[in-house]
Subunit: 181 residues, 4 copies
DNA sequence: GATGAATGAGTGTTCATTCAT
DNA sequence: GATGAATGAACACTCATTCAT
């Protein structure tokens, strides 16, 4: 059952559709029709369906792709300035939320549960967050009674604040002060 | 130009539709058809449209109704235990968010801007929050460098956390510690 | 089974609705909803239905009212300048068509057949036309081989021309020349 | 920017829908639902919308198609028996009106203005009429004081007469006599 | 009799998905 | 594999008509 490698043009088409779909859904919400995604990607609607058999699976592919990027982005902070790393990570995630605009809200609004459909991506992501927290706790910049679930929760909150209001400097300071021992 | 009062049965129907629509959209998202709202409310689809000429206006009516309830709920905290009131308010708002489930996200995802369509409701709401903050600052339980916009932002964040994860005791403690002088 | 006389306000309402409906349908076509007619007449929708049990019957009442007016208008031309009367009649009918605007077209488009639903009104109307033609033929201004059906046909055509193009002086002259012996 | 040619089956479907819609609207008026047109054409409703994105555009396509046919039909009369050609043209148009039955009335009743939406088709059509008139005037069978607008107006009137009454031989004779010098 | 709220079938239109080319 | 035409189930919204007040 090894999947045969895709033809070169198929690889290009898949990547093109994924990129266009990500940008479009992030900017305009999930209501954009598949036909429109196909048009913007310069392919036929049938081609989109060949690579992503339903619209839901296209969403999943987008989110998976995105979570991987975020995980990679987080990983490069590990061991760099251990006391600050977790706060830099939070700020970065908040900025990413601005890039993703309504994508998270849109997906939530439509009722897709990321943790259920993408357990592996979620696990990797939480793993790197756990490392950053442990570093901070060792460095004395993070209170010892918070765990990865708490920080993820605060991250979700900060992202929501950012989408609600562009400048969250004061709110971020409050959260940071609250996280400091 | 005072509009004549609605007939008794019309008042009942309007209230019934509003309640059913609120519960349904909060629980299942905005995708539920008007026909289904009508069916659950036990009225014809035309009746829904008589009271709320478009689906968007129905959303607005729901949100307006909700914001009014929240404002009233906040108002009764004023002057009660001034140092704690703002924190009780935040907890209460967070619990309301749990009740509203996906409604706020759903509405945001569809692109309705509450502050634009309901400026009066928003103004009243912010007014009572400002009072609670001032009380807290006088009582010494709230740092002096935060204003109503900051607290609203944190509230939005806390609501998002609550929707993301049922138990936000620890995250709330972090925010509270960060807000304390 | 003698119908009891209508109450005074009922008479007023009936007349008001008939007038408003005539003006509205003539100006905007038959697509205008009954609710809108009722609103413009300052009555409830139910009142319209009390007087005209279906929309079709309202159309019929309008047309009947109109044909009566036209018949009366034609009758006063009888014996006045016998040679010219029939031409004056045609010109008048053409002007009435301008007043009625799209009413005739609208009714035709919806498939109502006037001669079927209003035989009496039609008979009276044709009767007075016949008189005018006979006068003209006696006076030598109308060719002897045309009858009332021919003139009615030409009248329908002239009305259509008028609705198509405001100024039909030349076309009318052509028809008049063609009708002259 | 030449649009690529439609696929063979798409061409067939477009033509099928256009033909069925023409026949149906002409015979039964514009009130017939698109779903019914689709059913009679043996396609899905979506297919009708692919080719004609709104009902209005479908009407326009029908009328454009029709005016082109009429223009072609008129063109073949040019130079054939110059004195009679314009009268043959009028008779032919009148017969076409019978075929189109309520289409013109229906379209007028709904408020579509052909000259506005199809200026090119109208221009070609008037051009060929002008030629026919000029021929007739040179041949001495048409009075010299009528122009293309007058004849178009008379044509509209004759078509209305025909729709009103099947046999317009006498009325046509009257118009013809009026047009003769 | 008058009112206007309620009804519910019907319509134009959209769009996820399938499939012939 | 790619294309884009076809499908048909939904859905928002309208409006003639009925009926409780």
């Amino acid at each position: 059952m090894a999947e045969r490698p895709l033809r070169a043009d198929a690889v290009r088409n898949r990547a093109k559709v994924l990129r266009v779909a990500y940008e479009t859904f992030a900017a305009e919400g999930l209501g954009v029709p598949i036909d429109e995604i196909a048009r913007r990607a310069g392919v036929g609607a049938g081609t989109v369906y060949r690579h992503f058999p339903t619209k839901d699976l296209l969403f999943q592919a987008i989110v998976q792709d995105r979570v991987r990027q975020l995980t990679d982005s987080a990983r490069e902070l590990v061991e760099q300035d251990p006391g600050e790393a977790v706060y830099r990570f939070l700020l970065r995630m908040v900025d990413e939320a601005a890039v993703d605009q309504g994508l998270v809200d849109a997906i939530a609004g439509v009722g897709i549960d990321i943790e259920t459909v993408l357990p592996d991506a979620e696990r990797d992501f939480l793993g790197v967050i756990a490392e950053l927290i442990a570093q901070g706790q060792r460095a004395g910049t993070v209170r010892s009674d918070v765990d990865v679930a708490d920080v993820k929760t605060l991250m979700v909150g900060l992202q929501a604040m950012r989408r609600y209001r562009g400048d969250i400097a004061k709110a971020f300071q409050v959260v940071r002060d609250g996280l400091t021992p």
